[in-house]
C-alpha cells in the first residue's frame, strides 16, 4: 500500500519511522504547502516498510511518500 502526496509541497515532518506500526487514518508525514501544514494519513493499518522521501524534500501531487505493508 502506497501513501501518496495529496498536493504539491515540502515534507515538513515525518510523524512515524520506518518499521513503525500505523493505524488506518494515522498521520505518516506532514506536508507544508502555501504556508499551511497538511497531514498525510495512512489509508490502511500496517507497518511502514519504506519511506521514499526525507524531511525537506519537495513532492508533487501523486508522488509516493511511503510504502506500508
Amino acid at each position: 500500500m502506497e501513501v501518496k502526496a495529496t498536493m504539491a509541497g515540502s515534507v515538513w515532518k515525518m510523524t512515524v519511522a520506518q518499521g513503525d506500526s500505523v493505524e488506518e487514518g494515522q498521520d505518516v508525514v506532514i506536508l507544508e504547502s502555501m504556508k499551511m501544514e497538511i497531514p498525510i494519513a495512512a489509508e490502511q493499518s500496517g507497518t511502514v516498510k519504506e519511506f521514499k522521501v526525507q524531511e525537506g524534500d519537495f513532492v508533487n501531487e501523486g508522488d509516493v511518500i511511503a510504502v506500508i505493508e
Binding site: M7, G9, M34, M36
Partner: protein, 445 residues
C-alpha cells in the same frame, strides 16, 4: 530623496509598489527566487536580480543578499512590503547600518511592537485600552490554569512573538489548557525562537477593526479611518471593508484618536496599523500593531483618495505629511476580497498551472494581481494570487458591485476561493453587516 528603490518582496505587493514608483519617477530594483522567474514583478521592475532557490529562507528572507544587491545596484532605499522581512527589526537595523533608507519605522519600534507582551505594555502606558490579560509572560501551564480560573473561560493562549494566528489558541476548558499551552510554547520556540506565552480573555462575538495611521518625522500623525476585517479563515483575513458597517461615528472618532495617541506615544513614523477587537457594546481593545503596509490598504486608499505607498516614500524621504486630519473624510464604501489558490470548501491549498486568468474590469473595480494566464502558482508561498477591490457610493452598492465582479471572475486550471467569497457576499448576515470573526465558522457550510 529616493531615486531608486529596491523592493524586497514578491507577488501583488511588489507590483503595487512598482506602480507608485512609476508614478513618482522612481527607478525600481526587484529580487526574485527561482520559483518566481516569470513573475509579473520581475518584468515590471527596471532591474531584477535572482536571489536564490524557492524556499524563503534562501531567497526572500536572505537579508544579507538583499542588502548586498541593493548596495551593488545603488538603490537608496528598501521597501519590504508585508510579510517576509517587513517586521524584522534586525533587517531594518541592517538597512540603517548599510546607509539604506528602510521604508518603515525605526528598528527599535518594530522590535517593541513585534513582542505582543511589550506592545500590550506600551499601549497601556499610552492610555489605549487592551484586552484583559496577563501583565507579562506566563511561565508554566499550571500558572496559566490558575490565571484562567481567575478571569474565566474561554481564554486565548498566545505566543508573544506570534503572528497570523500561529502560536495562538482559544481554550474553552481547564482540561484543554495544559496541552494547548505546552504545544503552542513549543511551536513558538521552534518557529520564532521565542516560546514566551501570555494569556488574554477571549472576547466573544468580536469584530476585528483596525485603524490606518500615517506619521512623519516632524511629529505629524493622522489616521485614515478604519477597516473592518472580521471575515477570516484560520485567523487570516478573507474579506475587508472600509468603513466598518458596525461602529458608530462616535466610536469611529474615538478609535481614530486612540490610534493617533498610540502612534505619538511610540514616536512612530511611516504607515502603520493599530488592530482592535471590538465587542458587541462597541468597547474596543488593542490587539496588535502592524508596523508595515497591510494587504488590505487599497480599501483605505479607495475611500480616502490617499496613495499610502506614495505617503510611505514621502515620509521616508523626510517630507512632512501635508495632510491634516480635518482634510480627510470617508468617500463611499470599499470592499476587498482576497483571491486565494485554495479549495473553497476545505481551504486546502491548490497550487498548479493557471490556464486562464481573467479578472473583471470596470470603473469601480480595482485588481491587484500577481499572476496571469498560462502561469504556474507554486506551493512555496502564500496562496493569495490577487485582490479584488470595489468602491461604491454606499455599502449596498459596493456589495452589489463585488457580487457582479466575483461572478465575472474567471480562473481555470486551479481551484480558487471565489465560490466561497460569493457565498459570503450573498449571505443575508453579511449583507446585514453582521460580520464577526466567527462568521465563516457559523455560516460556511
Amino acid at each position: 530623496m529616493i531615486n531608486k528603490l529596491m523592493i524586497a518582496n514578491r507577488g501583488e505587493i511588489a507590483v503595487r509598489i512598482i506602480c507608485t514608483c512609476k508614478k513618482l519617477n522612481i527607478r525600481t530594483v526587484s529580487v526574485y527566487s527561482e520559483a518566481d522567474k516569470y513573475a509579473p514583478h520581475v518584468e515590471m521592475a527596471d532591474e531584477s536580480y535572482l536571489i536564490g532557490p524557492p524556499r524563503v529562507q534562501e531567497s526572500y528572507l536572505n537579508a544579507e543578499k538583499i542588502i548586498e544587491i541593493a548596495k551593488e545596484t545603488k538603490a537608496d532605499a528598501i521597501h519590504p512590503g508585508y510579510g517576509f522581512l517587513s517586521e524584522n527589526a534586525g533587517f531594518a537595523e541592517q538597512c540603517e547600518q548599510a546607509g539604506l533608507v528602510f521604508i518603515g519605522p525605526k528598528s527599535s519600534v518594530i522590535q517593541k511592537m513585534g513582542s505582543k507582551i511589550e506592545a500590550r505594555r506600551a499601549m497601556q502606558t499610552a492610555g489605549v485600552p487592551v484586552v484583559p490579560g496577563t501583565d507579562g509572560a506566563v511561565a508554566t501551564a499550571e500558572d496559566a490554569a490558575s490565571y484562567a480560573s481567575q478571569i474565566g473561560y474561554p481564554v486565548m493562549v498566545k505566543a508573544s512573538a506570534g503572528g497570523g494566528g500561529i502560536g495562538m489558541q482559544v481554550v474553552q476548558t481547564e482540561a484543554e489548557l495544559k496541552e494547548a499551552f505546552v504545544n503552542n510554547t513549543k511551536r513558538a520556540q521552534s518557529l520564532f525562537g521565542d516560546g514566551a506565552m501570555f494569556m488574554e480573555k477571549k472576547i466573544e462575538n468580536a469584530r476585528h477593526i483596525e485603524v490606518q495611521v500615517l506619521a512623519d518625522h516632524h511629529g505629524n500623525v493622522v489616521h485614515l479611518f478604519e477597516r473592518e476585517c472580521s471575515i477570516q479563515r484560520r485567523n487570516q483575513k478573507v474579506i475587508e471593508e472600509a468603513p466598518s458597517p458596525f461602529i458608530s461615528e462616535e466610536t469611529r472618532q474615538e478609535m481614530g484618536e486612540k490610534a493617533v495617541q498610540a502612534a505619538k506615544a511610540l514616536a512612530y513614523t511611516n504607515a502603520g496599523t493599530i488592530e482592535f477587537l471590538v465587542d458587541e457594546q462597541e468597547n474596543f481593545y488593542f490587539l496588535e500593531m502592524n508596523t508595515r503596509i497591510q494587504v488590505e490598504h487599497p480599501i483605505t486608499e479607495e475611500i480616502t483618495g490617499v496613495d499610502i505607498v506614495e505617503k510611505q516614500l514621502e515620509i521616508a524621504s523626510g517630507k512632512p505629511l501635508q495632510l491634516s486630519q480635518d482634510e480627510l473624510f470617508i468617500n463611499g464604501h470599499a470592499i476587498e476580497a482576497r483571491i486565494y489558490a485554495e479549495d473553497p470548501k476545505t481551504f486546502f491549498p491548490s497550487p498548479g498551472h493557471i490556464d486562464v486568468f481573467q479578472p473583471p474590469e470596470g470603473e469601480y473595480i480595482r485588481n491587484e494581481v500577481a499572476v496571469r494566464s498560462n502561469y504556474d502558482v507554486t506551493p512555496f508561498y502564500d496562496p493569495m494570487i490577487a485582490k479584488l477591490v470595489v468602491h461604491g457610493k454606499s455599502r449596498e452598492v459596493a456589495i452589489s458591485l463585488l457580487k457582479q465582479a466575483l461572478e465575472q471572475y474567471k480562473v481555470t486550471g486551479i481551484k480558487t476561493n471565489i465560490p466561497m467569497l460569493l457565498r459570503v457576499v450573498e449571505h443575508e448576515q453579511f449583507q446585514a453587516g453582521n460580520t464577526t470573526t466567527s462568521f465563516l465558522e457559523l455560516y460556511h457550510g
